[in-house]
Subunit: 368 residues, 2 copies
């Protein structure tokens, strides 16, 4: 199949140091970021969690909907939503982040959804564990992967497909992988995958397939576009590269003071300021957050952990003197992984966890 | 007070035919549009309703929060949230639209939040009417306007202020003006003005002040930035112009077929296609929706009205032949107001209700 603009689209995909394109703006209007002041909330309210939606949000009748599990299994089954809701129920606070978070800060800028740094959110997801269901349907010995397919369909990279991703059997059997049907105590809204999504804590968001419709056990490595082409660390499009998987460490700060509407520049009063934010590292716990003021790093205070896969609050008191200042923060996890000071470039703009850098203007005036 | 970049900001505010700026992209990342496929839903789910947030979303403790009513009134009063919730309770389905919707389609493009056409949503708002409260506090005879001030504070147009708008006494006493504390049956989430917002049905969204904290009765015309400078129809910044008030007619269509991720170009199968969408006109009822296919206009079917201030569904069966086509739709209200085919330019990019134009590619292939 072909679309008139496919050629144009492919050309527009070349990374650029030029201005933002119309296509990037269209994507930025659809794919919602979390405004960084929402880091004040330990659980992101519905409507403020980031959203990356490849195609259209489908309208699904939950009473007609079924989850089909088939392929290399002993007992193929179609689950109703009620069946899944009557199984073991678990609630997990999970920080989810888009693999492309930070993309628009790379130079040259990979052309796709032009995230700044807000493609993140933490929700309490409720659902039922996947592993017992897989044991019940009985995976055949030759099964090596499970392919999870959503109801959202479209074209990407010249290929028409329903959004689909795979996991190895071992990853899918992991204890914390859920079929989620609630977010923050409410039924999933359409934009988060109503009526059911996969939830794979610790992995970048592309893994947690929304509007889940089918699971197929296969005896080979899945070669669908979203698995084999997209979400890879490559330096040029012809490379195969390594797949993007687990969320890297990142700390973000609530921008202090008050903003200018247009520039988002910040101004605040001289004196003590409580800088605060959240830090996360996918499957790993956070062991340290540092704050940098005008080039000088110091340790921040860490709040108690809020869950194995949830971000951790931090704070730092800064005595702000009049003038212009640059603030940064940096997370380190228990394995010693930390954030780079500069973006580590790759062609698709994946997993850019370079430290946040924020310019503020401190005055003797009275603001806020 | 001054911010270093104020000069730069002012320069960047000049309308341009040039590329999207970084500042516009920052705003597009904060201010969420409703993806147009959400027109399938009669009530927009929380998280999909448009959001325009001038400054930061404030974190407000609803137990400490008070609504102060003062100025030229006989009995100044501070309301708790519980007091307001125990008064008369009303629920209204209301279509709300940002005054800047359509801005980025003007040429030259006014520089502000670069909306395409999705700055709209319809919610069921629950609250208590304003008029009885105003009668109880007793407006002084010399009061001519009420100033509604929110908790959100920042800089815009070189002025530091809390977001504030006014209404004449007559407009504020209108029967359908509410203090809203719920959306779609839930407490307002932070981004919609928690714990209380003003709701002025039929007016563009800037009127429905979020995070409402105080109401002051005054004996003159309010000259705050958001009232006297912003939200005016002007051809150049030195003009005073007419204020933007009521929502103009607009119809939008669910983009048919399936999208390309990057370009958002649409492809669909040849054959009968049910084109559908919603139309609204602020205070006025919709009397007609027309659909245009490749330059030929025809009447669409109108669904029953869904509420005096809520959008109205429409549909139109199109037999799509292979090839490229251009689709449009146009709303007309009971007073005969309709949509222009071309944008009517103004400096701030206000109320651009030019008809939607959608290019689609129809093939004999099988999609979706």
């Amino acid at each position: 199949m072909s679309v008139d603009t496919n050629g144009q689209s492919a050309a527009a995909m070349v990374p650029t140091s030029g201005p933002i394109t119309r296509e990037e703006l269209q994507l930025a209007s659809r794919n919602h970021a979390m405004p960084l002041e929402m880091l004040r909330w330990p659980i992101t309210p519905v409507g403020m969690h980031y959203l990356l939606i490849h195609f259209d949000i489908p309208l699904i009748d939950p009473t007609a909907w079924r989850l089909r599990i088939g392929g290399l299994v002993d007992h193929p089954h179609e689950f109703t939503l009620a069946e899944l809701q009557h199984r073991e129920r678990r609630t997990l606070p999970v920080t989810m982040e888009c693999a492309g978070n930070g993309r628009s800060r790379m130079d040259p800028r990979p052309i796709s959804q032009p995230w700044d740094q807000g493609a993140v959110g933490t929700a309490e997801w409720t659902g039922t564990p996947l592993a017992p269901i897989l044991r019940e349907v009985g995976l055949a010995p030759e099964a090596v992967e499970l392919v999870f397919t959503g109801a959202d369909r479209g074209l990407q990279g010249g290929s028409e497909h329903a959004y689909a991703r795979s996991l190895t059997i071992a990853d899918a059997m992991s204890d914390d992988v859920l079929f989620a049907y609630e977010i923050n105590g409410q039924p999933l809204p359409p934009q988060h995958g109503h009526p059911l999504r996969l939830l794979v804590p610790g992995w970048y968001g592309m893994t947690s397939v929304k509007w889940l419709q089918s699971i197929e056990a296969i005896d080979h490595t899945f070669d669908g576009y979203q698995q084999a082409v997209a979400y890879h660390f490559v330096q040029e499009p012809s490379e195969q590269g390594e797949p993007v998987k687990h969320i890297r460490p990142r700390a973000l700060m609530v921008p202090p003071g008050i903003p200018d509407f247009m520039t988002r520049d910040r101004v605040l009063d001289a004196g003590p300021v409580l800088l605060q934010g959240r830090a996360w590292a996918g499957k790993n716990a956070i062991s340290r957050v540092e704050v940098c003021v005008d080039g000088k790093w110091a340790d921040a205070h860490l709040d108690p952990e809020a869950g194995h896969f949830a971000w951790r609050g931090w704070s730092f008191t800064w005595v702000a003197a009049p003038g212009n200042h640059v603030l940064s923060c940096r997370a380190t996890d228990v394995e010693g992984n930390t954030q780079p000071l500069q973006s580590e470039w790759n062609y698709q703009g994946m997993a850019n966890n370079a430290v946040q850098e924020l310019s503020v203007s401190v005055t003797e005036g009275k603001h806020g």
